[in-house]
């Protein structure tokens, strides 16, 4: 009996969470404004309660999926009794309603964490952060309850079975990818809350940036992993072998990542040097706003995309209103409360300050170009200038040169000093790295393939130019210790974080440069017995089979692959599946992954005379793309763990006498 009430329980828990969020949004802010400690004290209990009740609602929805309760519309539309249990659990967020619930759960989780781990901060600051988080939560909970209730019932005609989960989503990549992405999007709400709290409290000093940095890093690390996983998923699941399509949904995740990256760097400048104060606040607002804008574009159906959920105009309108209120209000607060006269800190052209300024400008330009490219078709269509699409050539034409320029400065940044440094010192530190990067970049592709390619070389030069100066810097830094190893151990974790972050970018760039220029793709007609050589491997189609899986039927090709040089071989089995409940065809790629190359075989279409169209690809270094992403994220996490940020005493703010070690510039 009680089991049948689970959806109602979940619905009820959501309503209680909403009430708590309202209290959390109103009381601490009012308390901070009128200096009433009792009102401010509402913040933490409400943040905790809200998190708990949303968690209850989430568990209820998951239980409905696990128990195959098809009287719940959401379950009936997105699950099926034949679905394996792990997909039943992940199906919860494979649809609009469930994913918004997960989103809210994460928001409440971040809000709880921000409230829990801010013990040492000034009380009014904490109260304001809690208040802003509460208000954002109110928006999302209202969105769920008014337009996207996952607990809606199909009564009295309860379907006997569900419509099944979209087969594209029945996949490990999709179990982990959206939660990571959402954690990133939502995580930026904490930095946003800190920025607004600082504006409201008139505390735009370096202190708030110190508190905000770990939160920014963690949100950014999640977003990085989310984007990398998304690219990996698209690579093996869509069956085309591409890893980035400049699809609106991908762009929507890249936009906050770019401003988030800018934010991480600008926070460093504000914390260390006290400059860029207003700019940092503005970036924090932009980053969260872009997360919301991305959500709007994807969910409203304004842009159509490969990944879009089926949409509903009333939902689009609601998110638009939410977005408008959030952005307009925060920009208004910014306009009214930003410091009247910014406090100038001078720095010379050759300094880490100015290099980080350039970094920020470049990242913002990248953001704007991508945003323009994504929205341009909408703008032209509105002006009746024709229906156009902006494809990858546009994005590549702008993004690649901008990245190259960015790399140029990335080589300088980590070795430059704050405030100013003589050009001769920079030259002395960098000339060797520069020459080595140039020579190696030119020679390595030649050795690797025997065939020189300008773009591949450029990519490798850029990557080495990022890595080698850091290596030289570490060499110099560890010179004075008792041993090199002891020296390495002395480097702060935050420094290691910077190193990993930059090395990660370099690794990704190498992956992009090599796979874009040296990949081989052959689309061929194959019948049993057909033999074919691609990139040093011989592919033989042994036979075609059919089999029946749990919830699909499949045609399988058995392909014998042999390395022509070494003679070693293995079998690959690509499949074309036909999912029974939805009737959707799906390409199941056969992959032979490796650190230096992937072999990728996908079945195309049945040519109906016993042969199949096959897509065979050889993808060198493609793994480096995602490996770089993981390294970057790891860097972000290492920087959080740094002791410096775990000291939450307010005394931190007046922390003048830093140890010489931590004074080493930290990004």
């Amino acid at each position: 009996m009680l089991v049948k009430l689970i959806p109602e329980l979940g619905h009820f828990a959501l309503i209680i969470a909403l009430l708590m969020a309202v209290l959390q949004g109103v009381m601490p802010l009012a308390g901070a404004a009128t200096r009433r400690p009792l009102w401010m004290a509402y913040g933490h209990p409400m943040a905790t309660g809200q998190f708990l009740f949303i968690a209850v609602a989430y568990v209820c929805l998951t239980a409905s999926y696990a128990l195959d309760d098809f009287s719940v519309a959401n379950v009936a539309n997105n699950s099926n009794s034949l679905l394996p249990w792990y997909y039943k659990l992940s199906a919860v967020w494979g649809n609009h309603e469930g994913s918004v619930l997960l989103w809210s759960l994460m928001l409440a989780g971040w809000g709880y964490a921000a409230s829990r781990f801010s013990g040492g901060l000034p009380r009014d600051m904490v109260a304001r952060v809690q208040g802003v988080m509460g208000l954002i939560s109110v928006g999302f909970l209202l969105f769920i309850l008014l337009t996207s209730n996952p607990f809606e019932r199909l009564l009295p005609n309860v379907p006997h079975d569900g419509a099944d989960l979209n087969p594209l989503l029945q996949d490990i990549g999709l179990i982990v990818h959206p939660p990571m992405l959402y954690m990133g999007y939502v995580g930026f709400s904490v930095v946003f809350a800190f920025a607004i709290a600082a504006l409201l409290g008139g505390r735009l000093d370096a202190a708030w940036t110190r508190w905000a940095r770990p939160w920014t890093n963690s949100a950014w690390a999640f977003l990085t992993v989310g984007i990398a996983l998304g690219s990996w998923w698209a690579y093996y699941e869509l069956g085309w072998g591409g890893w980035w399509f400049w699809d609106p949904v991908e762009n929507a995740s890249l936009l906050p990542w770019l401003t988030g990256t800018a934010l991480i760097h600008s926070l460093a400048v504000t914390e260390k040097r006290g400059s860029f104060k207003s700019w940092t606040v503005l970036l924090a607002i932009f980053t969260f706003s872009l997360s919301l804008l991305g959500t709007f574009l994807v969910r409203s159906g304004v842009l159509t995309s490969v990944h879009a959920f089926a949409n509903d105009p009333s939902r689009g309108l609601f998110i638009l209103v939410l977005l408008t209120i959030t952005v307009t209000l925060s920009l208004l607060i910014f306009a009214l409360r930003a410091p009247r006269v910014s406090h100038h800190v001078s720095f010379s052209w050759l300094s880490r300050d100015s290099l980080l300024l350039i970094n920020n400008i470049l990242l913002v330009i990248m953001t704007v170009t991508i945003l323009l490219g994504t929205l341009y078709p909408l703008i032209l269509d509105s002006l009746n200038l024709g229906k156009i699409s902006v494809g990858p050539p546009y994005f590549n034409a702008l993004f690649v040169p901008l990245t190259v320029v960015m790399c140029l400065f990335m080589g300088l940044g980590p070795v430059a000093r704050w405030k100013s440094m003589p050009a001769s010192e920079l030259r002395r530190k960098l000339w060797l790295a520069g020459v080595a990067a140039l020579v190696l970049g030119m020679v390595l592709p030649l050795i690797y393939t025997g065939e020189w390619n300008l773009w591949a070389s450029l990519g490798i030069v850029a990557a080495l130019w990022i890595v080698l100066p850091i290596g030289k810097d570490m060499w110099d830094k560890t010179r004075h210790g008792s041993s090199r190893l002891a020296g390495l151990r002395k480097l702060s974790l935050a420094y290691w974080g910077m190193v990993l972050g930059h090395v990660g970018i370099a690794v990704t760039i190498i992956g992009v440069a090599v796979v874009s220029n040296y990949a081989t793709e052959r689309t061929v007609r194959m019948a049993p017995g057909t033999e074919l050589d691609v990139a040093g491997y011989q592919f033989t189609l042994r036979e075609l089979k059919s089999r029946r899986g749990a919830n699909f039927m499949a045609d399988t090709a058995v392909i014998q692959v042999r390395n022509i040089e070494s003679g070693r071989g293995f079998i690959m089995r690509p499949e074309k599946r036909f999912y029974l409940a939805t009737g959707m065809p799906m390409t199941q790629v056969a992959l032979r992954p490796g650190l230096f190359r992937d072999i990728y075989v996908a079945m195309g279409e049945d040519l109906e005379d016993g042969s199949w169209a096959m897509r065979i690809q050889y993808k060198p270094f493609v793994r480096w793309l995602w490996l770089g992403g993981l390294l970057m994220a790891l860097g972000g996490i290492l920087a959080i763990v740094d002791k410096r940020y775990r000291r939450t005493r307010t005394a931190d703010r007046a922390d003048v006498a830093r140890s010489p070690k931590t004074q080493e510039a930290v990004l």
């Binding site: 009794s81 006997h160 079975d161 159906g301 105009p313 307009t328 029974l580 959707m584």
Partner: protein
């Protein structure tokens, strides 16, 4: 102009963007569904489910309004809509089945178990006719008029509600 006024342009600028997005929202392209085009039932030639020897083609559908239902033994929702299909057949509507991506043995077994509302079943084991019909899965149902032109396309199972609100009015309209 003071700096503060300049800064106020930021929220104003965003309001403009929001207005633009609002206007786009009204254009929602997915709100339309013109996929339901009136077109002729594709030409085909196939055997029937119960008789390997008999051949039928598109003329099978000429002369009378028919409901063509695409189904398969493997399709759970097809079992669910069977009572509705049987009821429709009882009301004198001509039902034609397309046994889609199935085997003869399983298809016949299915009809023995759940009832057979169909006057005849077109056997489509490799999904050729389904492809020509633009079918993505089963069940899907097409209303074909006496001239062999598709007038209505129902995706997914037919619920008792669908019978009353969609199917019967459409049948009445084209008879």
């Amino acid at each position: 102009m003071s700096r503060r006024l300049w800064l106020l342009l930021l929220p104003l600028g965003f309001l403009l963007v929001a207005l633009f997005l609002y206007q786009r929202l009204q254009h929602d392209p997915s709100a339309r569904d013109s996929a339901l085009m009136a077109r002729e039932f594709p030409t085909f030639e196939a055997t029937t489910l119960h008789d390997e020897g008999s051949l039928v083609d598109q003329t099978l559908l000429h002369g009378e309004v028919s409901l063509v239902n695409v189904w398969g033994e493997w399709c759970p929702a097809c079992k669910q809509e069977m009572p509705q299909l049987l009821a429709l057949a009882d009301q004198g509507i001509r039902m034609v089945g397309v046994n889609y991506r199935d085997t003869r043995e399983k298809g016949v077994h299915f009809l023995n178990e759940f009832g057979d509302p169909f006057e005849v079943n077109i056997f489509d084991p490799d999904g050729r006719l389904g492809f020509d019909l633009g079918v993505y899965g089963a069940p899907e149902t097409f209303l074909v008029d006496a001239d062999g032109i598709i007038r209505y396309h129902h995706k997914g199972d037919i619920s008792p509600q669908d019978v009353a609100e969609r199917i019967l009015p459409e049948v009445a309209k084209w008879r």
